[in-house]
């Protein structure tokens, strides 16, 4: 929303959130009406305005109380850490209790309320007040018989406040058919703020609405607000847009096996991760891993738990080797535990908003979001805003969600389209046992494994192993081990067969080689025989020749 510097000057209230909604605070030098039913926080809001004015903005203030005595106010606000006595002593605050007791007053003739003006003027002048609260000025109507005189005087009072340039809060109880019982809105027309305290489904939610704000733009919604030991917090959580800084920084999940399923080795910083699964799939354990890993990196982590106490989560995490208690001790981890039914959805969001503001975590675990019950549209809207809240701060958030039975869709699954990463956990029941598997359904902006992995919760944390995916489906646990054993046996058999074949071949080779040797030996023997014959034959021939020659010689001599 545009903010014009030349617009109406405003006095900041210091109520976190409220100044955002009103783009600066209450109109300076004008009265503002705060109306609402009993117990909605009017007095608190007004006093906070004064105390913050005195302590933060050096604007002293006068609290004119028509209901509570100064001592009661001091005692009541001490619980919020407001030291009213100290402020009064320091001249930063003046409290004037105006007691109107009809039974003590007799009217005789004409009168006006100049005494009120004198008192207020005196208090303002004494401390140099810039702020004034009149709580609840309507009480005057019970003290005086003639309302027409009162109305004229009130009109004069508000004129007087404007003339003096005082920023004033006037409170008024809600009336029938109008904002206040006596129609104060008629006189205070510059700024009207309505507080409300509604009970729906036995859950109370406080809401604030700016009915009108003359001369200024303002948020028009009903904003939830919170009253607790830290005072009032108004939560303008509807303002988030889609323009937010993105980061490609990686935030590991704390489980190496899971990181390995994502190409980037983790989630993008500022992304939201949905971890959905049926009961007993270890959602909180995975969340604990995520938180522990963040702390180990020196980042701050906030753990919102809605079904367990912080100590229970710590104890349970210890069983998988995570010492979350030490992380809490180191100041990096903070648990915020609350029953979902303790407040309305808005209030949870409001608390979360405030906690995020104060702790400024890098990562957040919300366990589980499915604990929020209510009309679907409201749950969805709340979660959407929660998501915006986290994303706009660049917080990486892990949400766990319980799925009822094996149904794909449930109340929070409609959220999945808003999530950047969706990891689904499931139980596979077979062979008389249950085994846990997980797979990444989606992971925006990165490639990821499409495999189903089996994971086991061990003493040393969560360990992922590849699940057996075969013709018979996914096998896990003992079935997977059986299958693996069968495969090992088959492989062994194949190996043995190969060895046997190899042995046979070598035996045959040896047999053949033996035959070859025999044949070769036969051949050798034949050759030797032949050679001998040839040699003998040659010897014979030589003998014959020599014999013939000898005969010829002999014959020749004898003839």
């Amino acid at each position: 929303m545009p903010f014009d510097a030349t617009a109406l000057p405003k006095a900041p209230t210091g109520v976190s959130g409220f100044d955002n909604v009103t783009l600066g605070g209450l109109p300076i030098g004008r009265p503002t009406l705060i109306c609402g039913p009993a117990g909605c926080g009017k007095t608190l809001f007004a006093m906070t305005f004064l105390v913050n004015g005195a302590t933060l903005f050096s604007e002293p203030g006068v609290f004119m109380s028509f209901e509570e005595r100064a001592a009661d106010l001091t005692a009541n606000f001490a619980s919020l850490g407001y030291d009213l006595d100290g402020l009064v002593a320091a001249g930063k605050l003046a409290i004037d209790h105006v007691r109107v007791e009809r039974s003590e007053i007799e009217e005789s003739g004409e009168y006006d309320l100049e005494g009120l003006f004198v008192r207020l003027g005196y208090a303002v002048d004494t401390i140099g007040a810039r702020r004034v609260v009149l709580d609840t000025i309507e009480s005057l109507f019970s003290g005086f018989t003639d309302p027409s005189v009162l109305r004229a005087e009130l009109r004069r009072l508000f004129g007087w406040i404007k003339d003096r340039g005082l920023t004033a809060i006037v409170t008024g109880e809600r009336g029938d058919g109008q904002l206040t019982r006596q129609g104060l809105e008629e006189y205070v027309s510059d700024c009207v703020i309505q507080l409300d305290n509604r009970v729906e489904d036995q859950i109370t939610t406080r809401r604030l609405r700016i009915v009108k704000y003359r001369g200024s733009a303002h948020g028009t919604n009903e904003y939830p607000f919170l009253i607790d030991d830290q005072g009032i917090t108004v939560l303008p959580v509807t303002s988030s847009g889609l323009q937010r800084p993105v980061s490609s920084e990686i935030v590991p999940s704390g489980i190496p096996g899971l990181d390995a399923m994502l190409r980037t080795g983790g989630f993008y910083k500022g992304s939201s991760i949905l971890l959905s699964g049926v009961a007993g799939t270890g959602k909180t354990t995975i969340g604990s891993h995520f938180a522990d890993a963040a702390c180990a990196r020196g980042q701050r982590c906030m753990f919102f738990v809605f079904e367990e106490g912080a100590d229970e989560v710590c104890r349970n995490a210890l069983s998988v080797g995570l010492d979350l208690k030490a992380r809490v001790g180191s100041g990096l981890l903070r648990f915020e535990a609350a029953r979902p039914s303790l407040y309305g959805l808005e209030m949870h969001l409001a608390r979360m908003h405030r906690d995020l503001e104060s702790f400024r975590p890098d990562v957040v675990v919300i366990d589980p979001i499915s604990a929020f019950r209510g009309p679907d549209t409201e749950v969805h809207a709340t979660l959407l805003r929660m998501l915006d809240l986290l994303k706009s701060r660049g917080i990486t958030a892990l949400f766990t969600s319980l799925r009822a039975g094996d149904t794909q869709m449930d109340g929070t699954d409609c959220l999945s389209s808003l999530m950047d990463v969706w990891i689904k956990l499931s139980n596979i029941e077979a062979d008389g046992e249950r085994n846990r598997t997980l797979y990444v359904i989606k992971s925006r902006g990165m490639s990821h494994s499409n495999q189903v992995r089996e994971y086991r919760v061990t003493d040393a944390g969560i360990e992922l192993s590849e699940a057996y995916v075969g013709a018979e489906g996914v096998l896990t646990g003992a079935a997977r081990l059986n299958q693996e054993a069968r495969e090992r046996a088959a492989a062994m058999r194949r190996l043995q067969e190969v060895a046997r074949r190899q042995r046979e071949i070598s035996r045959r080779r040896q047999a053949l080689e033996r035959q070859i040797d025999e044949l070769r030996a036969d051949l050798q023997a034949g050759e030797d025989e032949a050679r001998k014959l040839i040699f003998e034959e040659e010897g014979h021939d030589a003998t014959l020749t020599s014999d013939r020659a000898a005969l010829a010689t002999l014959r020749g001599a004898a003839e």
């Binding site: 105006v98 007799e106 009168y111 100049e114 004198v118 008192r119 003027g121 005086f144």
Partner: protein
Amino acid sequence: MSTRGTQAMDRTADPDAVHLLRLYVAGQTPKSLAAMANLKRFCEDHLPGLYAIEVIDLLEHPELAAGDQILAIPTLVRRLPEPLKRIIGDLSSTEKVLVGLDIRGKGTSP
């Protein structure tokens, strides 16, 4: 501010008790002047010799307004006898003042 004729104070509500009356005004407005005149006349009529009037102008002494829980002007406060009573207005209705101060028939009958 003016004070007159203070006598011994008796805390019981007997008719002869001294009435210590304080009239708060804010400046010399017609209503204030009327109240002062009416009060003086009333006291002379109904409480002769048994009253003391103190007039406080809040424009001069604004710090005194809170102490007596003054809102309306003029306001007459009966500080004595107890209990404390307040009458607001210009005291033009004598009957109302009589009721307000718990004085009945005094001054008319001896």
